[in-house]
Subunit: 345 residues, 2 copies
């Protein structure tokens, strides 16, 4: 049986690799980071939406299936340098450090994932300049380590605000799309904070709360059971409060229709999802088109989001747009199935 | 090779059946309606979100792959009456009219889909009583047939409103979840109406606009290119206007913070998605748990939404919660892969 190349070792790539390997397909997994797991592991997500299940319960079994499978060649800290058609599929050149490896594969699955939006790009929010302005990942890490603190003075915060859509739905930074996960993840963080620190007041600034489908229960319970408060408005800028200690968020409350200034001890920026350099690189070497947003464009997003349109090249996960982990895992299976049918023929 | 039973002939079940059959697995497809295609075909959806692609371009190839495949036994207007464990998997009794069929299968995929919320249940909106109050499906059919008319007098409407979240996010009717598709489908309909009837004014009443991920472009273009107007508020009730002709929608505009009465020629109720009787029946005969909302509950929604937790029983599509067609197709592939691994072992 011909082998399959999987590019990317996040949830989608891990799922695809594990399924292919279990079907007896020799699989080559190329991951540019030094370890497997993708963003959930790299940024230490503690629990997942919608059921606040520990991330490890989902990621660990996926990683161990791949890490020990005899049918998978794992190439970490590696990237695909070039691809050429070959009689049996694709001749692939892979760079790993100073080494150059050559592999012949029958099909490829591109699961190159996403990057978190860099909050430094929204100067008006002061990330990197104001110590107590954090981003989503900083808080995930604090929660994973079990301590939420103000970086400025090490104290437990009293009032925390989440600011949704940072680098999403924002034509100024060129990201017009929605990051799909920001609302649910912020609400999840607010619930976690309220559970662990019942004295902390939690506020969420939003334009639209997007908890589609069954995720809605997260939104309802955050209000009815956990006392998280929601303010409809977008923060214009963040400055230091007159007391020299706290942060001042200036916004317009679009429900009460009035300007607001509120002081917080900690402000969390819910940064969006962008196609990363790995996705652009994959588009270039595999000649897969990118949509207007920069994500890989399937042949038909409505009918089959894992089919690139090029025979033997399949897509999975956030490489084609913002996705939840569960959706990436399922797409990894779908892509594995199509790749299996392709190489087995 | 042992065979696989697929319950449900909508997008997820069709996708699963076609993939299994292509892998050489004898497949038994049971569909309770008299034809294949599920809700998109039954209700004649004209075009799909987000790219307004004709539904036929997605559904027709899926249906023809299944309709002519020699590895698929198609049992229409049929349902699973009972399931018993057998040495090779499951012994299944299927009812088709007055006939009773018995099949032995190694695995089953439950793809029983959803039902549209019955708008009669929201009395205050007058569906079935006020001729010009339509639901989402009525408008899909009108658009598919190429004519949008007021049922009361046959005239082309001048002002049309879409009312989101009818039977969704509504504790009064017991449906607390979000239907996931209502915003995108309503915006899509409004765009279609504005394109075909440029003189028609289109208004959308919403609580939150939920066009997650790359679907956001639909929302943006509806405003910037198509002049669709959005009003944040939920309509309390619909009555006949003083002129005896039009409809009067009473609401509170939660942005302008004032009560509103607006007259429309046509009001479209964006009805939600509910687990249908087919899903409850499948839960019962296959002993698969249902979540609090009544949808089938995967073992772990976060890690693997197509795995029921019972060996040999897999889930796909809207049976586990509101889904887009593309997501159902992908889940059909994922479930097919797991079922294939199960029966091939």
């Amino acid at each position: 049986m011909r082998s399959v190349l999987v590019v990317g070792g996040g949830p989608a790539g891990l799922s695809a690799s594990a399924e292919l390997a279990d079907l007896g397909v020799p699989t080559v997994l190329v991951e540019r980071e030094g370890s497997l797991g993708g963003n959930p592991v790299r940024w230490k997500y503690p629990v997942l939406v919608p059921d606040l299940r520990p991330a490890g319960e989902v990621m660990d079994p996926l990683i161990s299936r791949v890490a020990s499978h005899p049918n998978i060649e794992r190439l970490l800290a590696a990237s695909v340098a070039s691809v050429a058609p070959s009689p049996t599929g694709f001749h692939v050149t892979i760079r790993q450090g100073t080494e150059t490896l050559e592999r012949d594969v029958g099909a490829a699955i591109l699961a190159t994932g996403f990057e978190h939006f860099d909050p430094h790009r929204k100067h008006e929010y002061g990330y990197g300049r104001l110590a107590d302005v954090l981003d989503f990942k900083d808080v995930e890490r604090m929660l994973a380590e079990g301590k939420l603190r103000r970086p400025s003075n090490g104290a437990v915060p009293r009032r925390v605000a989440w600011l949704l859509c940072v680098g999403s739905r924002d034509i100024q930074v060129g990201n017009t799309w929605c990051c799909r996960m920001g609302c649910a993840v912020s609400i999840k963080q607010a619930i976690e904070v309220r559970e662990r620190y019942p004295d902390v007041e939690a506020y969420v600034y939003y334009m639209d709360i997007r908890t589609p489908g069954l995720w809605e229960k997260l939104y309802w319970s955050s209000m009815s059971e956990h006392g998280v408060r929601f303010i409809r408005g977008r923060i214009g800028h963040i400055t230091v409060a007159p007391d020299g200690q706290r942060l001042l968020a200036t916004s317009e409350d679009t429900l009460l229709h009035r300007p607001m200034e509120e002081a917080f001890d900690l402000i969390v920026l819910a940064t969006g999802m962008e196609p990363g350099p790995g996705t652009s690189e994959a588009a270039r070497v595999f000649h897969v088109p990118q949509g207007p947003e920069g994500f890989l464009a399937p042949r038909s997003a409505e009918s089959n989001p894992v089919d690139s349109g090029t025979p033997g090249i399949f897509l999975a996960g956030a490489a084609t747009g913002p996705k939840a982990i569960s959706e990436s895992v399922t797409e990894g299976m779908g892509a594995a199935l199509l790749a299996y049918r392709h190489v087995r023929a």
